[in-house]
């Protein structure tokens, strides 16, 4: 570990406060949203204080500074992903990024590359977050394309045994999560990308749970589209990223100012990507905040962040497995998994468990985690989920452990 968690925590103002009558904040819900370092809060606030103007418009100094800050953030995101600047689109969030791709494909002229018909297939997986399932369900419904999916095995892995039957010659799109937001499972991407590309399909990767936690290089991953959200990566809310090497062939989704080349009363042509996908004045301060978040992560080193989280995940899983009646929902081995751990505790309903551990200052997520088909498949209507980040340490896992034991006594 190349950084000190104690030092990291000092960068996050929220850890100065206490929870439920003076208890230490034990924040284990970074899978839902991460906390923000002061540098991100200040970057966003300083944009408003000193540089605020509409980007890409106006000839004044503020407009120049705002544009520089906004485009500077784009460059940071590009470097973070090993990508080119013009391949980075800022959206309002990962959900919008995924909807953008699905709607844009729905806008494709018949016969063009991304146009779907009833002969085509869209492939997803059973472990998708609703945000990477419903846009594809709806695109299938609008175009008549068939939606099919990879199933999940009882131990929470993706079942690729029938990969050639799931991804067929008719498959146009394979949309899947890089790391399950419920199970922590990292999917076997290489095999899927190879099969998808062999049949001419594009791969859309939901990297919301992976990009904030591990080094990402889009060229190495080999996917065609990748999305992640700013707020899960220490950044501001209201900003998400869409990366693609295929933006030139994709028609726009939202129309309006900024995204055009020429406009007449009856027609318009589009600006080149990424502008083509950024209609209207964007969430500038938030993009700048995300840029600061990426600076923060890069300064600590994504490999270091990942190493720290893997060591802590090992500790967390070992600790949780010592709790009587606790079952981990998802892989218990550290191979191809991240720091998101879901579990059930005997007959205690996750809401009740979550409420109790909250009374001890421990913040976890409970419910179906926006992946209802997955929890249904695994036969658990709801789970409790602990998810870690660079500011967590073993004491947080210990606090969760103690709180769960407390809940077992309380609800006995």
């Amino acid at each position: 570990m190349a950084f000190s968690v104690a030092n990291v925590r000092q960068d996050f103002p929220i850890f100065e406060r206490t929870i439920r009558d003076g208890k230490k904040l034990v924040y284990l819900d970074s899978g839902a949203t991460s906390q923000k370092p002061l540098s991100v809060i200040e970057a966003e606030s300083n944009f408003y204080k000193f540089h605020n103007a509409a980007v890409h418009r106006g000839a004044h100094q503020l407009a120049e500074e705002a544009t520089d800050a906004y485009e500077g953030a784009r460059l940071k995101v590009a470097k973070f992903l090993g990508a080119d600047e013009e391949q980075i689109v800022f959206t309002k969030g990962a959900t919008e990024s995924l909807n953008l791709i699905a709607y844009a494909m729905g806008n494709a002229e018949p016969g063009t590359r991304f146009a779907l018909t009833s002969k085509d297939k869209i492939v997803v997986t059973e472990m998708e977050h609703h945000a990477n399932l419903i846009p594809w369900q709806q695109l299938a419904a609008r175009t008549g394309a068939q939606l099919s999916w990879f199933e999940v095995t009882p131990d929470g892995r993706l079942d690729l045994s029938n990969i050639n039957a799931v991804i067929t010659e008719n498959t146009k799109v394979v949309a899947l999560t890089h790391q399950s937001n419920v199970l922590g499972t990292i999917i076997p991407l290489k095999a899927i990308v190879a099969r998808a590309h062999a049949v001419g399909a594009v791969v859309v990767l939901d990297a919301c749970q992976s990009a904030p936690h591990m080094p990402i290089d889009v060229k190495e991953l080999g996917v065609d589209f990748l999305v992640f959200s700013g707020h899960k990566a220490l950044g501001s809310t209201g900003v998400g990223v869409l990366w693609s090497s295929e933006l030139d062939d994709l028609p726009p989704f939202l129309y309006g100012g900024s995204m055009i080349e020429t406009v007449t009363m009856t027609a318009a042509t589009w600006a080149p990507a990424p502008r083509k996908f950024e209609a209207g004045v964007p969430n500038m301060a938030q993009a700048v905040g995300l840029g600061a978040a990426i600076d923060y992560l890069t300064a600590h080193g994504m490999s270091n962040v990942h190493d720290h989280e893997m060591a802590l995940t090992k500790y967390l899983i070992e600790k949780l497995l010592q709790v009587p009646d606790l079952k981990i929902v998802g892989p218990t081995d550290l191979d191809s998994r991240g720091g998101t751990v879901s579990f059930t505790v005997g007959e205690i309903h996750p809401h009740d468990l979550g409420q109790y551990v909250d009374s001890q200052g421990v913040a976890v997520r409970t419910g179906h985690h926006c992946a209802w088909p997955l929890t249904r498949k695994l036969g658990v209507p709801a789970t409790t989920r602990a998810s870690i980040y660079l500011y967590n340490d073993e004491s947080d896992c210990d606090a969760l452990f103690d709180a769960i034991l407390g809940a077992q006594k309380y609800f006995a």
């Binding site: 419910g367 209507p381 609800f411």
Partner: protein, 149 residues
């Protein structure tokens, strides 16, 4: 501890030993309500005769608050006229939105006053209301199909 105001003994009793759980074979109306943010579910069978509710049975999955609350409602609202049930429901809804400022009238709400503490936990109010909103829906359906008879 603040938590004890949420998890009253009465609530945990209803959770562990729910009343009227197990769906009746016949019913005047059957409704299925879910809490989409957490996945809690309840199916409610309501039967009425002569404008009086004479049976409420249910099945469901969910947290102690949602399950205890539907158990309490199924006991409290039976043998009441629709008008009486509506009045109880209104009082309960008001209690849930009271942010901890109301105790609830035990003469009207009986065991349901034990849920008063829920109003201090905004995320749990919809858990407590799940069964009651299902009942409201079922009552409307019966009244529409039978005119309340």
């Amino acid at each position: 501890m603040e938590l004890d105001s949420l998890y009253q003994e009465v609530i945990l009793d209803h959770y562990k030993h729910p009343l009227n759980k197990g769906l009746s074979e016949t019913y005047g109306a059957q409704v299925h309500h879910v809490n989409p943010s957490c996945g809690d579910e309840v199916t409610l069978n309501v039967t009425a005769e002569g404008g009086v509710i004479n049976s409420i049975t249910w099945d469901g999955v969910g947290c102690s608050i949602s399950q205890a609350s539907v158990s309490i409602a199924s006991d409290l609202l039976v043998n009441k006229s629709f008008a009486e049930a509506d009045a109880i429901l209104d009082e309960f809804t008001e209690l849930m939105h009271s942010k901890g400022t109301k105790q609830g009238n035990p003469d009207v709400l009986d065991d349901a006053v034990a849920l008063a503490g829920v109003s201090k936990f905004p995320a749990r109010i919809k858990c407590a209301l799940l069964g009651w909103m299902a009942f409201k829906d079922a009552a409307v359906r019966i009244k529409t199909t039978t005119g309340g008879e």
